[in-house]
Symmetry: C2
Subunit: 212 residues, 2 copies
């Protein structure tokens, strides 16, 4: 059969990890890998590895396994990481600045084309090869540039209003660092949340309860 259309988020979460381990295998000079070895590295099972890949197609060879290079390519295609989606970032504070640098120098799926803030002290300063613009420019900027994605590094209190504005400008995908659940407001958007405080609280719980 192969090719499912409803990919579960468990599978989506594993895809970048497969990609990571395949790159490591390649660096180690390994050209072929079987589901068992990949499972060992993923701390998963051979069954799951094969099930995961078979959501998208048949990438292996019976009796031999998977070619590291071609499987890497397949996953690149599946994830779409050869794209360069134009993105803007709002909030040039500590996290915002760090993320702007990450986006500019350590990733290839997105291209950061604008940074915005409402703080007069930050507007005009340079962050990750871009000049921080006033938030009041955002509407004009989005209308004259094709913007696919917004990266939200603003405080919770600013997030709701900002999201409304961005949504009305037609932006439908978000990398959200704000402590706010965007998805509640607009069910048709795509959001990836990085809630640092939530992550810390989970760590806190796991320390207390020693949950492996």
């Amino acid at each position: 059969m192969a090719k499912k259309d409803n990919i579960s988020s468990s599978v989506i979460q594993r895809l970048p990890r497969y990609y990571r381990f395949l790159n490591e295998l390649d660096k180690e000079g390994i050209t072929h890998v079987n589901s068992g070895e990949l499972a060992r590295r993923m701390r998963s099972t051979a069954s799951q590895v094969r099930q995961d890949f078979n959501c998208f197609g048949e990438f292996g060879q019976q009796g031999i396994g998977y070619s590291v290079k071609s499987l890497t390519k397949e996953i690149e295609n599946i994830l779409g990481i050869k794209n360069r989606y134009p993105a803007i970032l709002i909030g040039a504070g500590n996290i915002g600045t760090a993320i702007a640098n990450h986006l500019t120098f350590e990733n290839r799926c997105f291209k950061l084309i604008g940074i915005f803030d409402n703080d007069e002290n930050k507007i005009g300063s340079d962050v990750a090869d871009l000049t921080v613009q006033s938030i009041t420019n955002i509407s004009e900027f989005c209308k004259s540039n094709y913007v696919e994605t917004a990266v939200l590094c603003v405080p919770k209190t600013a997030a709701a209003d900002l999201a409304e504005q961005l949504y009305n400008l037609g932006i439908k995908s978000y990398w959200n660092f704000s402590h706010y659940d965007l998805k509640l407001l607009y069910p048709d958007i795509v959001v990836e949340n990085v809630h640092l405080s939530d992550s810390l609280m989970q760590l806190c719980f796991r320390i207390k309860n020693n949950t492996k």
Copy 2:
């Protein structure tokens, strides 16, 4: 019955969100809430809300619902966020600096007591009320201070060696921003990963496939 001992990570992930929404309810001046309303905010079901809480105890009142204040307290206890686990951070780059500030000024579960780097240009500079120390001090520092948790903001290439050193110093819990799977090496540690690149790739996939 109540009180389970094996809490699934789905439940653990939801706990900080409950906490967040309960705080919002409190701010709105709402004193009591039922599972249905909480579910609406969580984009969940009333059943799930009640099942989740009943892993830990019986916090509600039939016919009435849950007291916002006392449920908040219960979740604080469950998560253990009144603790102040002493933590050190390694890697005072962009992300490291941002996280150091977050840990110092925006969280209460952990107390950042040391920052380390191997870059001569960074050692001696001030980050989040602390002076960046040389990584060569780390062993002595950990021996003379009780350190519960390490925050890893180092490049992937440095992560494995560093993890070995920290593990041998007795540190068993990690907030891991490095692009590296610590858990593979040491199954008895507690790790919360924040893999920004993985998160970006997931966003990339979701944009392409419009996965809600």
